[in-house]
Symmetry: C2
Subunit: 335 residues, 2 copies
Amino acid sequence: MSTFIQKGGFTDLVATTRVRLARNVRGYTYRGLGLGEYREIADKVWSALQTAPAIASDFAMTEVRAGSQEAAALVEKHLISPDLARKGGFLIASSDGGAAIMIGEEDHIRLQVLGSGLCPKECMETARRLAGLLEGQLQMDYDEKLGYLTACPSNLGTGLRASVMLHLPVLAANSGLSQMMSWAGRQGFTVRGAYGEGSKATGAFFQLSNQITLGLSEDAIIDRLIDAATGVIEAEKKAREQLRTRDEIGLSDQVCRAAGILRTARRIDTAEALECLSYVLIGLQMGYLRGVPSQDIMAAEQAVRPVLLGGTAGERDVKRATFLRAVTENLEVLD
Amino acid sequence: MSTFIQKGGFTDLVATTRVRLARNVRGYTYRGLGLGEYREIADKVWSALQTAPAIASDFAMTEVRAGSQEAAALVEKHLISPDLARKGGFLIASSDGGAAIMIGEEDHIRLQVLGSGLCPKECMETARRLAGLLEGQLQMDYDEKLGYLTACPSNLGTGLRASVMLHLPVLAANSGLSQMMSWAGRQGFTVRGAYGEGSKATGAFFQLSNQITLGLSEDAIIDRLIDAATGVIEAEKKAREQLRTRDEIGLSDQVCRAAGILRTARRIDTAEALECLSYVLIGLQMGYLRGVPSQDIMAAEQAVRPVLLGGTAGERDVKRATFLRAVTENLEVLD
């Protein structure tokens, strides 16, 4: 089994990196395609992957049934978009979820590569390799001057959307975030809250992604994303140090209590779990805690969400607590 | 150094046992005595103790200055009454605080012996030994028919007040407490909240003490107290098992979280500390937790009170948290 999930640095502040390429197959309209046509395209994509058997053997194709519970779980895992879950279509994904090809989204084909930590270059490289396999067999809509044609002009050109999911609890808690958002905007990037705008239940995760897909090369977009992400990471770190200077006891109290709750609770709801995980991530980065890799806490932040846990609300709260005790078993508070 | 603090059983539900004897010295009026007269009586008590040099060597005499901070701290340690702290007087106490003689309370002399756990017999024995020393040298007001004469008729006869401090959080949280109070009343005992009636900040400690001092021998009062205390302990244990049956997860969640908070918090106020300690005591008795003796948690319940910690509110919250982390360092959550 191959590994498609890429690995990068800054794992205590960067949850994931995602690179997505939009492609449309020549000969199909952009609107009003039915499930039959999407199935045709999916079959063609599947065939194209078979030209590299070592890669293809790790992929599986599944039909995404519109509005199903399975579709909702794929959304929470970030394997498909909410749009595809609603409309239905097809997903061709690697077994580790690191590479996923959606068929039936706004564009015929959306190819996504996922990484842990800050790794846009690595994700881009894998995405290019997979796109190359597809383009070897399928003719895509491409214009000499404009580049790849897409359903929405905002994706025109490279069809590339590269993003990093950043954990910015301290910037989010003060005015730092809006400042940082306008700074990112001037660099051609947008920052938006994961799972809805900045509610407490999001665990303070924010997605930084490129707004511009046209007039810049893929490599230039990737380089700029790395620069912007690094700037935001530094701003968050600085805000944390300012908080430490201002109220060291208050900060360490919240971090250590969060660790205590995750290690002991017998039931916990999503909002409290996400808040505690957020403080634990701060604590690991700032040296109040140790013993568990940040990536495991980042992964837990995904895994505790309701749809992935299943069962009634009461059952989920117990399952969530049991899971979190296991994840934080080796979490140590430093004195 | 001798040990005057007696030891008893049921330490997971009984904080302390206290036996108090009221005595008045012949030749002094019961009301309107000045500090000079109390000093005379204190000196006589002090001399009487010297007839047993091995015991006397462990005692010290201090003047209680009316309304002082030191006096307030002695009240929180249960070494003197709030009344003596307000009026001023003298305290002759063993170095471990297990035996204390107040001069200047409602009665001229109040002799108190303290024990950990349920030990009224042991406390009574020590109190009798000390009272015997005093009575060997001082003539007390005594009536052949009535027994010892006291300022208030409620103490007439034996002058004995015997009490146990019980931890009854589950009875207190439901209707069980009022039922139990009327049951105890019918047996000639009263139940009252420690530090004011039943507020959450008391940590659910209740004092069970005899109402009747006349017409019963000391031994009969002590035996009845043991019976009443045992009955209340059984009622609390039964209420806990009913709670376990009704909501095992909820109960274990609160117990385990309390342990987690005490082991990690960097600052904690009195009310939260007492509530957490209360749940930890439940957890130790019910088998959810282990590793720290209940007596240590009972003692912590005293030690975290504001007057004993000193400093500003902010400083106290930090001191309290540091102290509680040390106390609960070896507290283990059982799965």
